[in-house]
């Protein structure tokens, strides 16, 4: 090829259409893309199945065991006995069936964990959204309140609250508030940052120019574009909150009179040398549950972030 040649590529048969609309192209939006990515990942399916099993167990523990976890079914004669037919994990100090206690105990863990997460997320969402969207003094006040709550370790705060509440008033809701009411500050920070980012987008200005009010802009455009990280944080904190419930029960300030993994772990402390299994099994149940939710959160985070998706 010499320097001053004028090269022209052979013209292909197809007509030159500028900016053709791909009507048959694959559907795509944030959630659909995330779903397509997630369903190809084994980790997502493992975490989902485990989480589902645990939730079903919490709702109908009878499906998993027909042995009662309390009362007459507990025979002190069987105290710390190993596995027996119909009792796959053996018995604890009180002679109760460990598997049955794990199945029934999931109810407390999951309900308290879920409720606390919902409470924490809703408070955090409202505080963060208002602070981020309205800015100015609203932001200053709400963010400082958030900072104060941020400095209080929520476990300690929950212990204080539960100690103050008389034993017979320690309901699921009180416990959930004690945990969720002190763990919303990080959610608020994330929501605020996300709202600040989305608020800058041109489509928000476009809505204002259409005549949409500030509050309705927040609800219909800004919030839906800010929830993705919130869902990730909520899933991750679900795991934390389940742990928190167990910690409180372990310390004896959990729900009174209900079966809980934390309480069982606490009970088993004294026999850790002679019957370690009565400590290990409920701990394992707790670990698997928390891991399942945290894994789910991680998968969600990776799949909702197009940048992280592209790197794999």
């Amino acid at each position: 090829m010499s320097r001053n040649d004028h090269f022209v590529a052979p013209v292909k048969g197809e007509e030159l259409v500028i900016d053709r609309v791909a009507v048959d192209a694959k559907r795509s939006n944030l959630w659909l893309d995330a779903w397509r990515d997630m369903r190809r990942r084994p980790l997502f399916w493992i975490a989902t199945v485990v989480a589902l099993v645990i939730v079903v167990m919490a709702i109908v523990p009878q499906l998993f065991t027909n042995v009662s976890p309390t009362g007459g079914a507990c025979q002190l004669l069987q105290s710390n006995e190993g596995a027996a037919p119909g009792h796959p994990l053996g018995f604890d100090k009180q002679g109760c069936d460990i598997w049955s206690r794990i199945a029934w105990g999931s109810r407390t863990s999951v309900t308290v964990g879920l409720l606390a997460t919902i409470i924490g997320t809703v408070i955090g969402l409202v505080m963060g959204a208002l602070a981020g969207f309205f800015g100015g003094w609203v932001d200053a006040v709400l963010s400082r309140i958030g900072d104060i709550f941020f400095t209080i370790p929520y476990i300690i705060a929950a212990i204080v609250v539960m100690t103050v509440v008389p034993k017979d008033e320690r309901t699921v809701l009180v416990l959930a508030f004690a945990i969720g009411g002190f763990s919303w500050a990080s959610v608020a920070r994330i929501v605020r940052a996300e709202i600040l980012r989305v608020k800058q987008a041109d489509f928000v200005m476009a809505s204002t120019a259409l005549g949409l009010g500030r509050f309705r802009t927040l609800i219909s455009h800004v919030l839906p574009n800010s929830v993705a990280p919130l869902i990730v944080v909520a899933t991750l904190s679900l795991g934390n909150n389940i742990v928190a419930e167990s910690v409180l029960s372990f310390l004896g300030v959990g729900l009174s009179g209900s079966i809980s993994w934390g309480a069982d772990i606490s009970q088993a402390q004294s026999v850790i040398r002679t019957a370690p299994m009565s400590l290990i099994y409920p701990s394992l149940a707790l670990t698997i549950t928390v891991l399942a939710f945290i894994m789910l959160g991680e998968v969600l985070r990776d799949s909702l972030d197009p940048k992280a998706r592209a790197q794999r």
Partner: protein, 554 residues
């Protein structure tokens, strides 16, 4: 011309992205040569593979990109398959690189001087501290930064965009490479800055005999700056040859379209494809009509925080006045920071003016009640610059187009759906798109959706804030044609905000040139372009790349 020696030779280069089953070839067998001392431009739209080809030459392909076939050789030495360490030795010393975005290509935590010195040390040009410093100052001076000695210690944020790009060019040329690859080096800069920088770059490379591989989307710029042009489309070279020849005698249908669509000063005003029945108005008559939009002595001041509690007022807009007659387009043109977008926001009632007034259809808006402003919004709609940011990604296109109807309580669900379909047809998009989401569309298609949304309430005024600036030339041409068709069909009045004088030439009837918050000159496009009265306007016009070329005149 003396003996021709090939410097860079690319043969049958294929490049793919992705791994395994997802691998996708984006450059399909590209061959070209760059001779010593010449400037070659690769021109193409976004996605044509022009930048990919250039980055493959220095082995800087992003992510999963890899060369899957063909050869690249520099001075007869094969570059594909070189070891990383060998390639690193080559970069800088043999091949220099000037990246596209001056804003993100300097590390903000190190001083500019440090980054120049780093290059000098990495290329082994000097090792002694004093020598390195001396050389670094020299590099910046050569790049056209006056008082380089003082500037050495400054950080990138203290540099303007043009100064950063100078520093990057200096870095790229610091080791006297034989080949300089400049990837859209001035796309982010104002035209006047672009001109100065490219003149400087041309001077430097001419003196040193450096070959330049210039990547650009702007055909006019390529024709003005390069000896030869390579036109790429969809990963293939469709045409290549001497610049003049390509422009004056394009052979491939794609190049022909590209040359025809490129707006330039020689182009004519785009006419609606359906000829309007009314007689063509003389421009003098234009100004006597009752204005639909009138801006009087508009001023906007911002408080810039100084140290402590002090704050100094900054006049972003300083006494701006103009009028737009019904059914006409006024282009407000200026460089970045001239205050043109602030004026648009005040007209749109998104910002309150410090003083002065905006009259829409004869009514004063500054003292309007909230309800009146709300009603006004249905008469006046914006289309914003960024087609990727101005549509809410979580909403379907149908619901986005219907949103203005919903907000203003017009019609029921069924009639709104009918109107959405009607609007989609008006902007030449298939009706089936109503169910789909913004990120399924290209930039030009999104901008059509934005136009459809703006038209939903049947407004009489549309404010187009850099509405075509982010689009490729061919798509830009299409959208401008669409806007022109809609204008004559619906008798719309446009306020057109842009930095691109060539676009003004084809899209506007009237023009107001802004500089530092003031309008320095206004009048009909024909008059201002033919006989600019102000020196600033003259300078802007001169800076347009390819101004003498007969681009888009067909």
């Amino acid at each position: 011309m003396t003996e021709e020696k090939t410097l860079l030779s690319v043969r049958d280069l294929t490049i793919s992205f992705g791994k395994g089953k997802k691998q996708r070839e984006v450059v399909h067998g590209v061959s070209f040569d760059v001779y010593e001392g010449e400037t070659v431009a690769i021109v193409g739209e976004s996605g044509s593979g022009k930048s990919t080809t250039a980055t493959a030459v220095i082995d800087l392909l992003p992510g999963t990109g890899q060369v899957t076939g063909g050869t690249v050789s520099l001075n007869g030495r094969e570059l594909t398959g070189l070891k990383r360490s060998e390639m690193e030795r080559l970069r800088g010393r043999e091949i220099g690189y000037v990246p596209q975005d001056p804003m993100s290509n300097l590390n903000p935590v190190w001083s500019v001087g440090f980054q120049v010195k780093e290059t000098i040390r990495a290329n082994g040009l000097a090792s002694n501290r004093r020598e390195v410093h001396k050389l670094a100052v020299e590099v910046l001076q050569n790049a056209g930064l006056a008082d380089a000695e003082r500037r050495m210690h400054q950080f990138p944020h203290q540099f303007s965009g043009g100064m950063r790009q100078r520093a990057l060019i200096g870095i790229g040329l610091s080791a006297d490479p034989k080949l300089l690859i400049a990837d859209e080096p001035t796309s982010a800069l104002d035209v006047t800055v672009q001109q100065v920088i490219l003149d400087h770059l041309a001077g430097l490379t001419r003196d040193k005999g450096t070959s330049v591989l210039f990547i650009t989307h702007d055909l006019g710029l390529a024709a003005e700056r390069a000896d030869r042009i390579i036109v790429m489309s969809r990963g293939e070279i469709v045409e290549s040859g001497p610049s003049r020849e390509i422009l004056e005698n394009p052979q491939h249908p794609y190049t022909q379209r590209l040359v025809a669509a490129a707006p330039s000063l020689a182009s004519k005003r785009i006419q609606a494809s359906v000829v309007s029945s009314g007689a063509i108005q003389q421009t003098s008559v234009l100004l006597e009509q009752e204005p639909v939009v009138e801006v009087r002595e508009l001023v906007k001041e911002y408080q810039i925080r100084g140290g402590g509690l002090r704050s100094t007022p900054f006049r972003a807009v300083d006494g701006v006045s103009f009028q737009i007659p019904k059914g006409k387009t006024l282009a407000l043109v200026g460089e970045s920071g001239s205050g043109k977008s602030t004026v648009a926001k005040m007209v749109l009632q998104l910002e309150k003016p410090t003083s002065g007034s905006v009259l829409i259809e004869g009514r004063e808006t500054t003292s309007m009640s909230r309800q009146d402003v709300f009603d006004l919004r249905s008469r006046m709609q914006p289309v914003f610059q960024d087609p990727y940011g101005s549509l809410d990604p979580m909403r379907s296109l149908g619901s986005l187009i219907a949103e203005p109807l919903k907000i203003h309580g017009i019609g029921d669900a069924a009639s709104r759906r009918a109107r959405v379909h009607e609007l989609l047809e008006q902007v030449a998009l298939p009706v089936s798109l109503a169910e789909r989401y913004p990120n399924e569309l290209s930039g030009g298609q999104r901008q059509r959706i934005a136009v459809a949304r703006a038209l939903a309430l049947k407004p009489s005024i549309i404010v187009l804030d850099e509405a075509v600036s982010a689009l490729d030339v061919l798509v830009q041409d299409q959208i401008l044609q669409l806007l022109s068709d809609l204008q004559s069909e619906l008798d719309l009045t446009y306020l057109f905000i842009t930095h691109d004088l060539a676009v003004v030439r084809v899209a506007a009837d009237l023009v107001a040139v802004m500089e530092k918050g003031r309008i320095v000159e206004q009048g009909t496009v024909d008059r201002v372009f033919a006989n600019p009265e102000m020196e600033y306007t003259q300078r802007l016009l001169n800076a347009i790349p390819g101004k003498d070329l007969k681009l888009g005149a067909a």
